[in-house]
């Protein structure tokens, strides 16, 4: 699936929820489910510090695809983290860099990406883009 197709499928899933409780219950479920990062990467080097919740992010290159794994200490943040990973992981750096993350707005979670939330998510998105950029340079060498 392309990033666009994955975004589409996330949006379709979320369109099933008519009220916020179902939506957040689903996010919490996603957050509880995912063992998304190797414990050894949950260190300061991979920590993206938000003042409210913390996010750990690891990126690796498999052939020409970037593979992200991540975690958060807050379960709702972790749910959103898992959505980001699901959409962006396993794609080429240029594809990742072309993505605007608009799907989060469409599923009504844009406020979680606001810098004032200080939950680490916006920094995580920036970090994802930095990794993609770095891998892009590496691949072009």
């Amino acid at each position: 699936m392309t990033i666009k197709e994955k975004e589409q499928s996330v949006m379709e899933e979320f369109s099933l929820f008519d009220d916020w409780m179902d939506k957040y219950a689903y996010l919490i479920e996603l957050g509880k489910e995912l063992p998304v990062i190797d414990e050894k990467y949950k260190d300061n080097q991979h920590l993206i510090s938000g003042c409210q919740s913390r996010v750990w992010l690891h990126a690796g290159l498999e052939e020409d695809k970037v593979v992200f794994t991540a975690d958060s200490d807050a379960v709702i943040t972790k749910g959103i983290v898992s959505l980001l990973i699901r959409v962006l992981s396993g794609h080429r750096p240029d594809e990742i860099l072309d993505t605007d993350m608009e799907f989060l707005e469409k599923i009504g979670l844009k406020e979680h990406l606001s810098p004032t939330r200080a939950n680490g998510l916006i920094s995580m998105v920036k970090q994802i883009q930095l990794y993609a950029k770095a891998f892009q340079i590496k691949l072009n060498q």
Binding site: W20, M21, Y24, I28, C51, Q52, D73, T77
Partner: protein
Amino acid sequence: MPFSVEKIRADFPVLNQKVHGKPLVYLDNAATTQKPVQVINRLSDYYRNENSNVHRGVHLLSQKATEDYEQARTAIANYINAAESKEIIFTRGTTESVNLLATVLEEWVQPGDVILVSAMEHHSNLVPWQQLCRRRSAELKIIPVDSKGILDLEFLKKSLNPQVKLVAVNHISNVLGTINPVKEIVGLAHDAGVPVLIDGAQALAHTKVDVQEIGADFYAFSGHKVYAPMGIGVLYGRQTWMRRLPPYQYGGEMIDRVSFDEVTFNELPYKYEAGTPNVGGVLALETALQYVQKLGIEQIRKHEDLLLEKATNQLLQVEGMKIIGKAPDKTAVLSFLVDGVHPYDLGTLLDQMGVAVRTGYHCAEPLIKQMGLSGTVRASFALYNSEEEVDVFTDAVKKAVNMLR
């Protein structure tokens, strides 16, 4: 006048709205309080009818603004029972008040001296002193707080000696709700010849403040935490101190005479009010304090204590509930944690249910970390909060915890 929450709420337009489709339950009052129409109107009337610069105009409008401005200073001085209105210095807020003091006390603090602050200070009453100590090679000593949220007065007693140049503590903790025995603290410090600053940011809205009774040398507070607009605050400073200390900023009303080579400075309080002051803010602060006075601070306190007790009891029904801050003298602030539930998650779900609380460190990171926590959820009450809102809040907490577990 009987205390009617319903009537009071009609004075606060902002409360009458929905967030995420639910009626707003505003419980972030320790961060900032909402403003009654009386305050909003005072501010808007000033700009509609009176706006002009104070202290220098010969024209009528300026004279009227100056009169009102100085009259407000007197009213605010009376409200906190300052001996003289010149002891009221207008600032942007508590943070600026503390920074002003930490700047002008520079020479007062010599290498090897000590400044005592409590472990429950807001960053605004910690970092200015930490930085002053750094600049002056002085030592910052921390008065410990026990697990209940009570200040260790024995430590304070033992630590007081001639090397100590200031004790700076808050009147009410913004995290724990603890009401500190400020009068006793001042008494102890004064017995050792040490001046005291009280950070009253959280106090004005919840308790009577009488600076002469407390005996503090300095007392700082913000307007916006007591129903006045943002951007106006007060530093009360005893004139015996403020007359001796150097100016803070230069220019405008703080100048007496000036040539290209020399300058003499104006008298108190103008010496500390460089530049055009926030006249509208001062007038609206006066109105806000009148509003509180009319309802009666004892009545307000009684109402808020009732809300605090009800909320505490109802929260304790939740399994794994931990109340942070159990001082017997406590008001209006309810910090808590639930086992296995991250504060951010809880805050996010409460927001979805229309309940505005704060989560995180509450600008008191060292205190929270010392308690072995990475944050709390904080509900804080004001005079317009109702018992029904407490029910909505505690039901929302129960619902959120069920979702998160």
